[in-house]
């Protein structure tokens, strides 16, 4: 049985509609008008234990609303939701024991008392057996480097330190399921890195199931093996990261470093139909569809006309890919077009 099973999960919010200005406010006071907004629109989602899922989508797509339903904070409008055999909002406290939550924008730590006291509080709140608490605390302190600020209150530590401490606090009770809502927001590269490594180690060593929302695509590549993309409350992609890249990241760019500027671009262009060539003196870039050409074919088409000193190939960035999805330039629900394109369509030199 999957750890998370959502079928037709829907959340509708009622928003007050108010006309601008004082008159609008007055009108609203007497005759309230509401508009329904579908934040999450009939989503089906099934997550097996041990998976690490990136839950992506532009702002306002319904990510946080979904997470809040999964954690039992929000009551779904319709649909069914079972997390580890429980309906989260009906058994909120029981569900809370099985999960760890990190909200990147809010801390769970007590502002005024030392970090270690917050951890002790978590020990009592989650009724963690002393042995388990001690072992986990020691391990996480080591992995996350918490020792230097353990005795400072949460209000006096940096954002990076706070996030590391929050992560520790969310995992002290060995939750089966870890929800991370933008865990690396506003952090520097080094801290991001250590946090990602830590989460990855939880997935691999403790079999913790992770679901994270993020706008940072580094989080996805380092932590997750599955990507779910939501937009306008609907899931528009659900699959593993490699497949996403294979199916949709078709553009590659080869950069050639030249000994001399090419005498003419025309013959090169003629040899590479449907490719985008850019040349500024000593560098030449060719953007091509990798289902149409192999990198070697591009090189073979270029080499006769110029002297190449060096070259490199740019892999597609997941970031670009997802940006395209957000912008509607890529539709992910048409996988057959990608499948058809796997044969080289135009023979070289044709």
């Amino acid at each position: 049985m999957p750890l998370i099973e959502a079928i037709g999960l829907t959340k509708k919010f009622r928003q007050a509609v108010k006309e601008p200005g004082l008159v609008g406010s007055l009108k609203h006071f007497f005759t309230r008008q509401y508009k329904d907004k579908l934040a999450v629109d009939h989503i089906d989602l099934s997550v097996e234990a041990g998976e690490s899922v990136a839950y992506l989508g532009p702002n306002g797509a319904g990510k946080s609303t979904t997470i809040k339903m999964l954690t039992g904070i929000l009551v779904p409008t319709s649909g069914s939701l079972i997390v580890d055999g429980l309906v989260p909002h009906e058994k909120r406290q029981q569900n809370a024991r099985n999960i760890g939550v990190v909200f990147g924008q809010r801390t769970q730590l007590w502002w005024d008392i030392p970090v270690i006291e917050s951890f002790n509080l978590a020990r009592d709140m989650y009724e963690i057996p002393p042995k388990q608490y001690k072992a986990n605390l020691a391990e996480f302190t080591e992995l996350l480097g918490l020792a230097e600020f353990m005795n400072l209150p949460a209000g006096k530590i940096s954002l990076g330190q706070r996030m590391r401490a929050d992560l520790c606090m969310a995992l002290l009770h060995d939750p089966k399921m870890l929800y991370l809502d933008e865990p690396t927001i506003g952090l520097d590269i080094a801290v991001k890195d250590s946090i990602r490594k830590f989460i990855r180690s939880r997935v691999e060593e403790s079999g913790t199931t992770v679901m994270l929302t993020t706008h940072d695509l580094g989080d996805i590549e380092d932590i997750c093996n599955r990507i779910v993309i939501i937009d306008n409350g609907k899931i528009i992609h659900d699959g593993d990261l490699a497949a996403l890249k294979d199916n949709y990241a078709r553009d590659r760019v080869i950069h050639f470093q030249l000994a001399r500027p090419p005498e003419s671009m025309a013959p090169i262009c003629a040899g590479l139909p449907a490719c985008e060539l850019t040349n500024d003196g000593l560098s030449l870039s060719v953007r091509f569809d990798r289902f149409q050409f192999a990198a070697g074919e591009i090189a073979a088409a270029v080499m006769p006309y110029v002297e190449v000193l060096d070259f490199r190939i740019d892999e597609p960035e997941v970031e670009d890919l997802i940006r395209k999805v957000y912008l509607g330039q890529l539709t992910l629900d048409a996988p057959d077009s990608a499948a058809n394109a796997t044969e080289p369509a135009v023979p070289l030199g044709a």
């Binding site: 039992g72 904070i73 406290q93 809010r106 007590w110 006291e117 709140m125 009724e127 209150p153």
Partner: protein, 266 residues
């Protein structure tokens, strides 16, 4: 009940007081000035009319003022503002994702500092006693025992009232005005400023149907043994009904508010 987790919250809440010790001390100084001013005010009144006033002798009045001071010194750190912050900053969500009951958590937070508040109030109280002297003591140990019960009920009642009022945070953002308003009404109708016997009849009638008299008047009159047996029992009963009734009402308000937020959106 998982007492241990709430005990841990209470302990953490007590620790916070020590973090803000300067603020706590200043607050205390303010209360001391207030209580001293009240003593001189009433001293002047009693000097003007020797003997009993409204049934109070001067030593009894002093005892009344001290009891009022003691009760006002408890649970000073718990007010509506925190709830406002929790709602505004979305911390309610954080608490909802934890295996705790919100009201019990807030109660633990409110109760945590009480040992220290009690200690400070007794310290200040004994200095005042030393300066002014001649405080009326309970004539009967039974009164004193009932007084302790009444203080406990008053403390619970204070929590319940503030908890209920703090639920307005779900509908308004300016909690400061709410705190000030509640404190003003509470000071008047609890008898903390003036014993209720000095009120005109109509105002006393209003005070009688409000929960606030249980905060100061009931415990203070119990201490002084001003009420006969049945009246004391009745007043303690009323105090208990308000304390537990509002506790329950607060739970319902919270449930309603959370439902409104989690079902319809904030």
């Amino acid at each position: 009940m998982h007492l241990r987790k709430y005990a841990a919250i209470a302990k953490a809440s007590l620790e916070v007081i020590f973090v803000y010790r300067a603020s706590f001390a200043l607050n205390m100084v303010g209360t001391v000035f207030y209580v001293v001013a009240m003593f001189y005010l009433w001293q002047t009144i009693f000097l003007g009319s020797p003997g009993a006033l409204g049934g109070f002798t001067w030593p009894e009045m002093k005892a009344y003022l001290l009891v009022a001071f003691l009760l006002n010194s408890l649970m000073t750190w718990f007010d509506e503002w925190v709830m406002g912050r929790d709602v505004r900053e979305g911390r309610v969500a954080v608490d909802l994702a934890r295996p705790i009951d919100y009201q019990t958590k807030r109660f633990a937070e409110a109760v945590g500092p009480i040992p220290f508040e009690l200690f400070s109030a007794l310290l200040v109280g004994s200095v005042v006693v030393f300066v002014f002297g001649g405080i009326a003591l309970p004539t009967d140990p039974a009164h004193f025992a009932l007084f302790i019960v009444s203080v406990a009920l008053a403390t619970l009642l204070k929590f319940s009232i503030i908890y209920c009022v703090s639920m307005t945070a779900f509908w308004t953002t300016g909690m400061t005005g709410i705190v000030v308003g509640r404190v003003a009404i509470q000071n008047l109708f609890s008898g903390a400023l003036i014993p209720l016997v000095f009120f005109p009849d109509w105002l006393r009638a209003i005070a009688a149907v409000l929960p606030f008299q249980g905060l100061v008047s009931t415990p203070a009159l119990t201490y002084l043994g001003k009420m006969d047996g049945p009246t004391t029992a009745l007043m303690l009963g009323i105090q208990a009904v308000w304390a537990f009734g509002l506790l329950l009402f607060g739970r319902l308000l919270w449930r309603g508010a959370v439902k409104a937020v989690t079902i319809n959106g904030g």
